[in-house]
Symmetry: D2
Subunit: 289 residues, 4 copies
């Protein structure tokens, strides 16, 4: 049986902490109680931290604002690495002109707009503009009519040989203690199978998410992978992805993986974190305040 460890004693060993967002910092009920103490401690100890999230529904600025509204001001836009940012980089590098059709809200699309590219909801694609559609992006499960626009998406992909980006690889996300919501990553899998095309996915566990964050840090300082630890609540995304990229990993039990299940799921999947902690909260007593 793996030992449950003290979160503070773990982060003391690293220079940079990567946090997953959902299930670690916040849940459907708001902030994880006490999590602000963790960020106070990190600031005090001058440790760097990044939020590494499979959330392409909003820009880093908008995501940061949701934390501020909940009372956590430590998370600024420059601390956030999202799968939406990888999507934006891909479009910058690989799609030079034309229309980027998308499934999602206009908020999610606004962020990925780049000079020279025009974003357009799938609902507005028609026979007069389809020839200019040079990429199609799955951004969010809201903001469109599932019946109309998913059927339309399949037919656009039958007519155009274009890159398709899935900006969020999650299949479902929690809404409440009992309920989940189908995520755009689950929908994209269905469309990929029906269209018979190969989509491009950005998001944990894929290494490109971790590399993007790693590169951000290296722009201004020297760092090695041994000096970074990834903190997450989900074995298949946070822990598998962190491990594969060569980072040490912490599984917290405040989200997707329940305390009673952790050991069994680690054994069943073979995905083992370096450490297991109850939560990512650094307790006040530990802070010596």
């Amino acid at each position: 049986m793996k030992r449950i460890e003290n979160f503070k004693s773990i982060i003391d060993k690293y220079k940079v902490i990567f946090f997953d967002a959902f299930g670690v910092i916040k849940t459907y009920q708001g902030l994880v109680p006490g999590i602000e103490k963790t960020f106070s401690y990190l600031e005090k100890e001058k440790k760097e931290y990044y939020i590494v999230t499979n959330d392409a529904s909003r820009s880093p600025a908008q995501l940061a604002q949701t934390y501020h509204k909940m009372g956590l001001s430590a998370i600024t836009p420059d601390r956030i690495v999202s799968s939406g940012m990888l999507t934006k980089e891909y479009l910058d590098l690989k799609v030079k002109d034309g229309i980027v059709a998308y499934l999602g809200t206009s908020d999610s699309a606004h962020y990925i707009e780049t000079s020279g590219l025009h974003t357009m909801p799938v609902s507005q694609v028609n026979s007069s503009n389809i020839d200019k559609v040079n990429a199609l992006i799955f951004l969010d499960d809201e903001g469109f009519d599932w019946f109309e626009d998913l059927n339309k998406t399949v037919n656009i992909l039958r007519k155009r040989t274009i890159p398709v980006i899935v900006a969020n690889t999650d299949h479902a996300y929690p809404l409440s203690v009992t309920d989940v919501s189908i995520a755009i990553g689950g929908i994209a899998n269905m469309i990929e199978r029906i269209a018979g095309k190969e989509f491009i996915r950005f998001g944990k566990p894929d290494s490109q998410m971790f590399m993007f964050a790693y590169d951000l840090i290296r722009e201004y300082r020297t760092i090695t992978k041994q000096e970074i630890v990834m903190v997450g609540d989900t074995l298949h995304t946070d822990i598998l992805g962190g491990n594969k990229f060569g980072l040490d990993t912490v599984l917290v039990l405040s989200g997707n993986t329940l305390p009673n299940d952790a050991e069994a799921r680690i054994t069943a999947t073979g995905i083992a974190p370096t450490y297991i902690c109850e939560t990512a909260v650094v307790e006040l007593g530990e802070l010596g305040f």
Copy 2:
């Protein structure tokens, strides 16, 4: 290179003909031109025939009526074997009471109603009746709100350990020369993966469809599998299923499998029909009329 053969000379060798519906008898444009001659010939020769279809959207009576409206009166309800009939048989045998929740039109649900069971669209399931839901059925891609009701379906399946039936295994169906529509079988695959449950599927290529038709015939006469031939336009459903059940098979090129592609797709998949014909039409000249 496989020889294209004469349809009449093939059916002359068999006592019973199983026909797929879509792509063989009708397309999105109506009846396959001339197909009524095939049924005149079968009647004249006193050969039996059945329509074996992955269509659970309507009852055999309603399906027969659509043929009559198009001018083909030979197809009566007793000639139709559908995946909806297998669903109905399953409910009769295995679900004794309570509510059968469904995704589909009320037409599709009406047919599967059996004494003692109450059918209810997923949209009407709520906290006061969910404990009585003893089965959930995917019937048709129309008749419900995809966003609301697919999310609700996932959450019903998280709360109830009940059989889930997919009454149509197709992933997509053709709407026009260029466009397809996502079928309920494709949607069911997405929900199955997200819910993590094992669904029950009725429909070709599964043997249970062929067995059901075979049993219907054996109720009133003696027949062997060698005396039956399956005619279809799709390698993965009609031909694979027919072959596996032990029937001879005819691939027709009037639907899903295009004349230019047939040979390459047979080689690529390894699914080989006994014969290939342009269409299932028996030409007038051949009839000796």
Copy 3:
């Protein structure tokens, strides 16, 4: 929490009992202790029983003999329905001449030989006879050189568009308390993916196994599906397949599904048996001896 029920009181309600073999009647250690009492009771009560097994490694006669050697004489060859019998029926109906190449022991091949067909181990296929190879069968994980013959199988399938039959759908089978062995069904999945072809599988949970047994009974008596119960230790094969075919089902906890796990696995997979019993043993006291 599902109640553990008394096996005798269950079988008292049915006229015909289908048993899985491994994990129900025998384990890697020999007969399930006391199982002979069950068959004594069935004989005394004049109930019919069949062994429905995904075992194509030997003929029914050879399989029956292994039970006799263990001291269970009640299981005669005519009581056994195996996936090997379906394979034999397929070859009879669909492969008229030429060579049937196989992976397995000569024992397994001997049984499927039919008049007009010549069986040949994959190792003996060469450039002079490959054009006569009209089917390829995965029979058993023993009897061939994995490296040589699996590579050869892939290359035969690149040259010949022929039906490929997987006569045992299991991926692994238990060897001891701690160890399993890779089964031919697992190997066949790998070859299918590499060859890119669509294989034909016989074995539970596929309905064709149940239909074969059902047809055997109907040859000499009238029976309905409600009068048959399927007894098995594996949710994904015995219980799923029995349920789908319309039979009531009993999960026994003497094999693949452990007592501590049963409830969690039923909930996780959504595959629910009609009943759960510790074992398929009818206790002496119950017999009134």
Copy 4:
């Protein structure tokens, strides 16, 4: 129809060229005829190049030597980025001590050995040392007994919750015009499914391969992704991976993708290269020699 372009005119636009090995530089028959001219040109133009290969069977030094023996001296060990190098980096970062069990030749294992870790063929793992096995690596399809050691691998993974690395993601590789060989990546998929564990894969199309090469370059010079082009013969690995990483890509028709098929496969998969060329050979006339 996509235009076939001149390879020289393409590479003239980039500063760094990444080459796939098999199907681009060499085939089962030896070097692609004339390929040495390409490397002469690159040297003359002072362009950098790397071989990015899913080959973990040998060290970069040994791989370079095979090119030298064929007469291509331009490819030195420091030009080679292999999935074996990623495996070695993973072990350095994540597996601190104990035994690394492997499937492959001793050559392939020798390379991944690092201080503190002991490599051991799966065949030598036994009850006295299994508790020290802290990782298991799939390196090569040769060097072990498939029957004995694949079964043993499954059982090691049932007893140890350890990371499993697949150092070559290919499913098959060509041996001759007509024949292929099952690759270790295909075998690993079978074992992963049977063991029910989640393996870690290094190799194209995964981004980590491209990132490793990109980081190597950035250690001594400044470069952007726009200045690099990836040249490969396989849509699903070289082109998909290069595209996803943000590189321009060249599909050459000298290997896996045949001239007659290229257009159809691009349309079917949706994986589009930036350019298509007959081969990666720079013609003499073009060199102005």
